[in-house]
Symmetry: none
């Protein structure tokens, strides 16, 4: 290990950042090669491409000097009865220095489906640069960030510089189908995580053009409410007027979940919502968020709230309830004179800290049973939870958040916004709960990257500045971690 | 024309009925071939199959010696902007003898949608006989009855017997989508109907195991209520909690149409319902109607009413409102975290004499607009009527009702119940209003045939006895018509 003085450190970092700038075309070319692999995990026919992508990634980590373990993830049972292998996962670690902090990076190299027919302007698997944007599937979700992280490390090697932190990797190939087996993988390798200090996930995007750190996500409790009037669908001419129709009961129940102001009317549902502290409230003031642009991108004219603060708080720290649809009723175009016999209403609640799934489930079930009781209906009612994804919130006073803040300030010249994500990213919570380590989401993608959408992209600038951000983060973390260790030693 | 004496007539009829019994396997096989054609008029992709079915029908009528006109019905404008041809209609007539009564038979050879995935136990387009029942789409609605009518005529030809009435046909292929263009077809061919004495429709079912004649039907006003929040579906994580969700508005509207006792809550909707006369009320007492069996066949445990009379009156002479489903929301199995942007609720009102469609449309539109106004929603609302089928009621003292009553008594050995149908068969009303001729509905399907449902069927017995009923009806009508003419001549 090189004995870095602070000045030497800064000089070394500046060399690294310059190197990254100078080699950006090479880094873009590497990304193009990764994006040429159609590693769509949702398509059984492309499963071998995901495995190929995992091997490419493993080989690249090996050239860093990493010790790479390819973990077999077993078989996936398809709907048609076939079983096909899951792509393997990667657990890797670079050389270990007990004096340094240890960072574990999570990423995935599978992608969402994409085809030209869906409305892509360019071939989704042939990365195309237009006006400074790198278009193609996986650009921002998540190949770009994974490769940026690797490039940051490779740059140290190219410049023969010591990496100021210890590095571990956990890379998977099934994130886009819900990360089956990931929790088991973590739980089964707790030894691997035992010496990890910080876990970094870079699998989301900024809120605006301004860099951001993500410290929380909402959860999702997805409910089915099933009403059954009989064994088969009936004709509305032959039976309309003499039976308690299941749809009538169901729409009444669905109409009694949330009011027209967006307020969930289920008793007790807000009881456990974390109170807004003065400190948290202040965070919202400085966040860059273009309300008009957000409206334009949503295609909606009028939001429920007028101010930036209200909007963000309702997306991030307030629960919401959405009615997604009904299974079993007539849903086609045209007209059908059916009385559906069994209908399943589907809705979900985006929960926030400190709501607890079992409590939410109890409140929802009781409320629906109470509403249903008012109807005096002889129909059969069932309420059940199908997804229970918990929310996550990190302590933003944690050391790695400070390091990331410093790194952003150095690379981008601005203090990052502290943001949350209204969507469910169960990864952060899973990592935190299973390993009890500090977890941070450090996005490098822009707000308009269109992950999961047609014409996904990452800008060349975000990709290259993101690489520099990761390199800077290693250095900032190293410094703060050293201070922390020193302070601890002084205390003892 | 053979000069029939009464005894000769009866002998001829007995020969015909025996022939029908002896050839039942052949008749069943013919029906299987018709049912193999997926002539689903609601599916634009299957439109050519409906046209094929019309051609098959036309060819068959031609072999009876009929003069068949294939009438072009123009184009259908689909919701997506495409135009596709309507299947043609058939107008046909057999040889004309001015001394005989002229009967015009209406039928349709298109069917409701059907697929194995909907819960059919057998392939809906491969007729399967199980325990004396012929299962498959179109079995009872309406291919079975149309073919039974043709078989009754073919039997006369096979036995080289003169048909005792003059025959006309009007056959269409769009009944299941509301018979667009049929009224225009009739109105444009009044000359064709000018010498018709009696119009027979056999497109409904009995009320019990006892044969029945139908003298009234409910109408149907099918409404679409559309709520639109924006231009595209959104992700409930990214937007849940800040927008006025279209589904929330829609379920509220749908929950405010009918109460849990089946009472329609739209102001004024009951104003024009015909009062129940003492005479009509008496008709209900003798009708054979097994409430328990009706419950069993419906698969529903508890009806809204307890007595036979209440049940029948709510099916026949009271309006009802059914919510059929929602287009545009998530309707698949599993979970999808979508906020649908444009959802279309579909419901229909079965109206009864003397409700008028324009008045119903006005009441429904105003009510929904009033309910929506309570929500203070910025979303766009549209309410529109897509089917406006009027109710019908006939004079049951009419001559062809007596002929049919005699025919039923001969073939089945019982006096038929005088019933109405809760379903919409606007045809009867349309034919009556446009032609001013006597219209009768002469069903041969059983109460448990499940038209429009999964596992639609007709029993082999009903199909074959129904064929015999039609043959007997020709003979009974011929006799009564002759008496009528004789009486008229005596008078003059």
């Amino acid at each position: 290990m090189l004995p870095f003085g602070t000045d030497a450190n800064e000089k070394h970092l500046d060399d690294i950042l310059s190197y990254i700038d100078e080699h950006q075309d090479e880094f873009v070319q590497n990304l193009k090669e990764w994006m040429a692999v159609p590693s769509d995990s949702s398509d059984p026919e492309l499963r071998s491409e995901v495995t190929r992508m995992m091997n490419i990634t493993a080989e690249r980590i090996k050239t860093l000097g990493g010790n790479v373990e390819i973990v077999d993830m077993g078989f996936e049972k398809l709907y048609d009865g076939r079983s096909i292998p899951f792509p393997p996962a990667i657990l890797a670690e670079l050389e270990k220095d007990p004096a340094k902090a240890t960072v574990c990076f999570y990423g995935h190299v599978d992608v969402q489906p994409a085809s030209k027919e869906d409305g892509w302007k360019t071939d989704p698997y042939n990365m195309t640069e237009i006006n400074g944007n790198l278009y193609g599937r996986g650009a921002t979700d998540n190949k770009g960030p994974v490769l940026a992280w690797i490039h940051a490390l490779e740059t140290h090697k190219s410049l023969k510089q010591d990496i100021p932190v210890n590095l571990k990797f956990i890379i998977e190939g099934v994130e886009e189908i819900g990360s089956p087996g990931l929790a088991d993988l973590i739980a089964g390798h707790l030894q691997f995580f035992s010496d990890v200090d910080y876990i970094v996930i870079s699998d989301n995007v900024w809120l605006s053009k301004k860099p951001a750190l993500t410290y929380g996500t909402r959860g999702n409790a997805y409910f089915f409410v099933e009403v059954e009037s009989g064994q088969k669908d009936l004709h509305s001419g032959t039976f309309g007027g003499i039976i308690h129709e299941a749809m009538r009961d169901l729409v009444y129940i669905l109409a009694n979940l949330v009011d027209s102001s967006g307020h969930i009317v289920i008793p007790g549902i807000y009881d456990d919502v974390a109170p807004l502290t003065e400190e948290e409230n202040k965070l919202y003031e400085n966040i860059e968020f273009d309300l008009e642009e957000h409206k334009n991108s949503s295609g909606v004219d009028t939001f429920l709230y007028k101010t930036k603060e209200e909007i963000l708080q309702h997306l991030w720290r307030q629960p919401s309830l959405t009615i997604h649809g009904i299974e079993g009723a007539f849903s086609g175009t045209g007209t059908k004179t059916v009385i559906p016999s069994k209908v399943i209403g589907k809705f979900s609640i985006r929960q926030v800290p400190n709501m607890r799934i079992p409590e939410v489930e109890k409140q929802v079930t009781k409320h629906i049973e109470d509403v249903f009781a008012r109807l005096h209906s002889p129909n059969k009612l069932k309420v059940y939870l199908t997804i229970g994804a918990v929310p996550w919130v990190a302590n933003i006073d944690d050391l790695q958040y400070k390091a990331a803040k410093n790194a952003v300030t150095k690379v981008f010249g601005v203090i990052p916004d502290m943001i949350r994500d209204g969507s469910t990213i169960p990864l952060a919570k899973t990592f935190h709960d299973l390993t009890q380590k500090s977890v941070m989401m450090l996005p490098i993608g822009g707000a308009d990257d269109g992950e999961h959408s047609q014409n996904e992209k990452i800008s060349r600038s975000n990709y290259i500045q993101g690489t520099k951000l990761f390199a800077s983060y290693f250095h900032e973390l190293s410094k703060l971690h050293k201070d922390l260790i020193d302070a601890k030693q002084l205390k003892n």
